[in-house]
């Protein structure tokens, strides 16, 4: 469904991505794992058309996304939950969700989608009249994910959905991601929390210093000693 070939991104002299390639098949949940500054977010932002690229190609359903601005991606079926969430803090939860259904393709299914989002996040249903900016970080993340789902996407891009959340709230977000995955939606997620993400994903890519240094089915990576050492570390030992 999504194919990235030899993608290069530079910020001035700093090289963020040096020839990254990856594939996301329909119905898959694919994770991009890596440490802070490895280039994960640059990769997602390049796919989302939010930063310029210096080489390579991104194709969605066989069509190149080069020069497609961010706002046009939503109409093609790509929904983005960026780092920092990108919600409308001054508007209500209900307005934020309605804005998610602004694209032409989402209008007919908006009412059904809203019901699905409220089922996924009952808290949003209770708080639909609340100004989104006054909610907790976890609730704002729910607004961002719910809004992305409102656009009836074929592909959902998530950038660090658990970043800055208390562990118990992050757990809630991952539980929601599991339910989203189970609906069959194709998901590409960038995360630092490798353990929780590998438990959900079908396939994962490991990114270090702007390159893909490893990839494989999530189940295999979970038991790969090198991955455990580099990405899962002592946290795994403490939990098991």
């Amino acid at each position: 469904m999504l194919e990235v070939r030899d993608l290069r991104v530079r910020y001035g002299k700093h090289v963020a991505l040096e020839g990254v390639s990856l594939k996301v098949g329909a119905g898959q949940m694919v994770a991009i794992l890596g440490a802070n500054g490895a280039g994960k977010s640059s990769l997602l932002n390049a796919i989302a058309g939010r930063i310029p690229t210096q080489g390579g190609d991104i194709a969605f359903e066989g069509q190149s996304l080069a020069d497609v601005p961010t706002h046009a991606l939503v109409e093609r079926g790509i929904a983005i939950v960026p780092e920092g969430r990108g919600i409308f803090p001054a508007l209500t939860v209900a307005d934020n969700l309605s804005l998610g259904a602004i694209p032409e393709r989402a209008r007919a299914s908006a009412d059904g989608m809203r019901a699905d989002v409220f089922e996924l996040f009952p808290r949003l249903a209770e708080r639909r009249a609340q100004i989104a900016g006054t909610m907790s970080g976890g609730e704002q993340q729910m607004v961002a994910i719910g809004r992305a789902l409102m656009s009836a996407p074929k592909l959902l891009l998530l950038d660090e959905p658990s970043l800055g959340l208390a562990p118990i709230v992050a757990k809630e977000v991952f539980a929601a991601l599991k339910r989203i995955r189970d609906t069959g939606l194709t998901v590409l997620v960038v995360e630092q929390n490798a353990r929780a993400t590998l438990a959900l994903a079908d396939f994962a890519y490991l990114v270090e210093a702007g390159r893909v240094t490893g990839s494989g089915p999530a189940a295999e990576l979970r038991s790969d000693p090198a991955v455990v050492r580099a990405f899962l570390g002592g946290a795994m030992a403490s939990e098991t």
């Binding site: 991606l73 990108g86 409308f88 309605s98 804005l99 602004i102 694209p103 656009s151």
Partner: protein
């Protein structure tokens, strides 16, 4: 007292209409348009010329002038503002650039108006017979001008609050950075907002032409009053601009009837200064 109240509300209605357009342009397109009053004057002069030359009544002209204002705003944004938007990395830069650019536009339009219509004060006699409103005789043209304000402002406030179009406008005004994430083309919406603001300037110009005396060099007064109202009502706050506009009309009428007509501008700016010092975010906060 009742006379002051009614005449004040009528005057305030025109001010509010003018301020709504300015606040839309600033709130949505991020352009502080100093040539706003001149755009109003173009409409006013066109209405007067059509009335004097062809006998076209201002109310009929309204139907053509408002869409023409929208089209002019669309062209102005595309030709003049879009390059400024494209090269500005920050909001502050765009504000400064747009102030300078529209300051130039002000004199350009003023020059064209002076050449075309001369420097004399202009007014027309149109439906100026008195109508009894609660025992006060008010000229019919003023009532119609007030009616235009009520209808235009009411429709705008309703559309912004209740329609999908309005939600998109508010989203861009409040958080332009997030708008592309939901498929909104910010540039297109900004152009619409600027064009709609110009259409409101044109509607205001029709109201002005119907009952006021004006000249080609007087546009800046409209811009200043609209600006005062926008800041008093809270930048980008449409309902605030409406209330502040009506209030300014009342205050000006009150000052000119009870104190001295020469002090109306002074009173306006005294209030403006007080608001700026005491509540810089406006009486009703940001929209």
């Amino acid at each position: 007292m009742l006379t002051t109240l009614i005449l004040g509300l009528v005057l305030g209605g025109t001010y509010a209409l003018l301020a709504l357009g300015l606040t839309l342009q600033y709130g949505i397109a991020r352009i502080m348009n100093l040539a706003y009053g001149e755009l109003t004057l173009i409409a006013a002069f066109v209405v007067v010329a059509a009335f004097q030359a062809a006998g076209i009544p201002p109310l009929a002209a309204l139907i053509a002038v408002v869409p023409a204002g929208y089209a002019l705003g669309w062209v102005l944004y595309t030709v003049m503002m879009r390059p400024l938007v494209a090269r500005s990395e920050s909001r502050g830069r765009l504000e400064i650039d747009s102030i300078l650019a529209t300051f130039g536009l002000l004199f350009l339009i003023q020059g064209v108006l002076l050449v075309s219509f001369g420097a004399n004060f202009t007014s027309i006699s149109y439906l100026d017979r008195g109508v009894n409103v609660f025992g006060v005789s008010v000229a019919l043209n003023r009532l119609i001008a007030f009616g235009i304000c009520v209808v235009a402002a009411g429709a705008l406030i309703w559309a912004l609050a209740r329609t999908r179009w309005g939600l998109v406008m508010r989203a861009v005004a409040l958080t332009p950075g997030s708008a592309p994430l939901v498929g909104i083309d910010v540039n297109r919406v900004a152009r619409q907002g600027f064009a709609l603001g110009t259409a409101l300037a044109a509607a205001g110009g029709v109201s002005v032409a119907m009952y006021q005396t004006f000249s080609a060099t007087g546009g800046v007064v409209f811009t200043m009053k609209a600006l005062v109202i926008v800041i008093m009502g809270g930048v980008g706050n449409v309902a605030g601009a409406l209330i502040a506009g009506l209030a300014l009309g009342l205050i000006e009428t009150f000052v000119s009837t009870t104190i001295d007509p020469g002090l109306t501008m002074a009173a306006t700016f005294l209030i403006f200064l007080i608001v700026l010092l005491w509540r810089p975010q406006g009486l009703f906060g940001r929209g």
